[in-house]
């Protein structure tokens, strides 16, 4: 792999840019690998990269039904933060945030991580108490999070309407300054390039149709549309389709797949300096480097794999956006799409061993998996390599639904997650 640098750009500028290599190779699958990861999104590609880099396991295949980064990695609103309430959540999301900070250098790929600040609006006394509880929990845990008055919130984000007569008045906000956004596609591409460089096979357009198991129940490999591929260890990182894939191995996971929608506006000049979220009226918004306002809506109430959602869900979010930021009332929306999120009963992810020997699962990231990409991938690689969860992900096990030791972020984080 040739390193990307200012000198490489200068050199290629002289040669009409004919010397750039393909970023990753797309080989035909071998008959067997040490590890197979199902799902080439950010989490799966990242896990393959860390397996190769930190654990020396390079005989790895990442199998993807569509194209890499084409699922939820390419459909989210790219918000990064770690201001969660419970230790288990703070552990993994903060681990992730720390990896985000050095990811571009690590991958030699500009993932455009921009710590522009994530501000969560408080509209009532309940919000205020809940956010202050988060802030105190975060600060005791060494994670930055601070309380802003409405005037300070307005100073941090000038388009915000803080009038007392507003439809959704604001009585303060919680701000995590290290939170922000990153370029979603670049994360998948960067991991794919770095993993491919270390010998990982990324096999796209190859659908897994079954998981073959041996006489003792252990995994032997996967049946795919390109034939059988053997492996003694399989990691499932299939987001909204995780329950479909796990069913192939006879494992039921407590997931509900729901469509989640997002939309972007026409490009505007830089006007919106941070990420703003409002759990209470359900709106979150930021501005991409291309200038589009990126707006996240809610999930539909029913299970679905349709990758689309109800118009009333978007309308509800845009109503809130227009009230919070009257300046955006006449902005035209350009595109809208849906992704399938895998939601657990406690709205916290599942990463751990399964009852099937050799089968590992990383799922349940629901509506907030993008921010966790590097941390989740890093700890998933540790899980697959060693067979036991890392200390930081130990609480996310599948067994918690039997023991009852849930991580109840649903109550803490409300809808935005």
């Amino acid at each position: 792999m040739r390193k990307y640098s200012v000198f490489a750009i200068a050199r290629e500028a002289m040669r009409a840019h004919k010397g750039w290599d393909a970023q990753w190779i797309s080989p035909e699958p071998r008959s067997a690998y040490d590890v197979i990861i199902i799902g080439a999104g950010g989490h799966g590609l990242g896990a393959a990269y860390y397996l190769a880099k930190q654990h020396g396991i390079t005989n790895v295949a990442v199998i993807e039904r569509g194209w890499l980064g084409g699922g939820n990695t390419g459909r989210n609103t790219t918000i990064i933060r770690s201001n969660y309430l419970y230790d288990e959540s703070m552990d993994i999301y903060e681990h992730s945030l720390k990896l985000w900070e050095g990811l571009s250098q690590e991958l030699n790929y500009n993932v455009m991580y921009s710590p522009r600040g994530v501000m969560m609006l408080s509209h009532n006394t309940h919000d205020q108490q809940s956010f202050k509880r988060h802030i105190h929990a975060n600060r005791l845990y060494g994670i930055d999070n601070e309380w802003l008055t409405p005037e300070q919130a307005k100073a941090f984000c000038p388009p915000l309407d803080i009038a007392k007569t507003a439809r959704y008045p604001i009585n303060g906000a919680a701000l995590q300054r290290r939170g922000g956004t990153a370029r979603h596609d670049a994360v998948a591409w960067g991991y794919a390039r770095a993993a491919s460089d270390r010998g990982v096979h990324i096999i796209q357009n190859c659908e897994v149709t079954g998981i073959r198991r041996g006489p003792n129940g252990e995994v032997q490999g996967v049946e795919t549309s390109k034939g059988f591929i053997g492996a003694r260890k399989i990691g499932v990182s299939a987001a909204g389709h995780s329950s479909v894939v796990m069913e192939m191995a006879g494992v039921r996971v407590p997931l509900a797949s729901n469509p989640l929608q997002a939309l972007v506006s026409e490009p505007l000049k830089p006007i919106f300096p941070c990420v703003v979220m409002s759990n209470t009226v359900h709106a979150y918004i930021s501005q991409s480097d291309k200038g589009e306002l990126v707006i996240g809506a809610g999930t539909d109430q029913y299970n679905s794999y349709s990758q689309t959602g109800g118009l009333q869900i978007i309308t509800h979010t845009l109503d809130a956006i227009c009230e919070l930021f009257p300046i955006f009332r006449r902005v035209k929306m350009m595109r809208q799409w849906g992704g399938i999120t895998d939601n657990t009963p406690d709205r916290s992810p599942i990463q751990g061993v399964t009852p099937v020997p050799g089968l590992f699962v990383n799922c349940g990231w629901g509506t907030g998996g993008f921010k966790a990409t590097p941390g989740s991938a890093n700890l998933f690689a540790h899980l697959i390599a060693t067979g036991a969860p890392h200390r930081l992900a130990a609480g996310l096990n599948l067994d918690r639904f039997r023991t009852g030791r849930l991580i109840d972020e649903a109550a803490a984080a409300a809808v935005a997650h």
Partner: protein, 118 residues
Amino acid sequence: MLLIHCPYCEEDRSELEFRWAGEAHIARPDAISEISDEEFAEYFFLRNNEKGLTYERWRHMHGCGRFFNAARDTVSDRFLMTYKAGLPKQPIPVAEERAAAAEEKTVETWEATEGDAR
């Protein structure tokens, strides 16, 4: 937005009047204090989450207020039938099944969408 047929009101009404209420035909174990943790997790947390035909409950919240069951395709979101609560799992009428099969399924690969468009 979905258009849902309430089997009690016998009318097609907008999704806004309804609340989704999870998988249908899950019976609470009789001796719930005596079952094992595994059995409780199975009953309480594990759901089928099917891709394709699913049986689910809905409640006509802003109408008659009653729960009923529905069969729906989770890929196309097409309702195959709705029926009253308390009835056992109903077979899908043949005509509906054919119509659902003929209906174009949501395509998710680049080849299938962009390829066709070209």
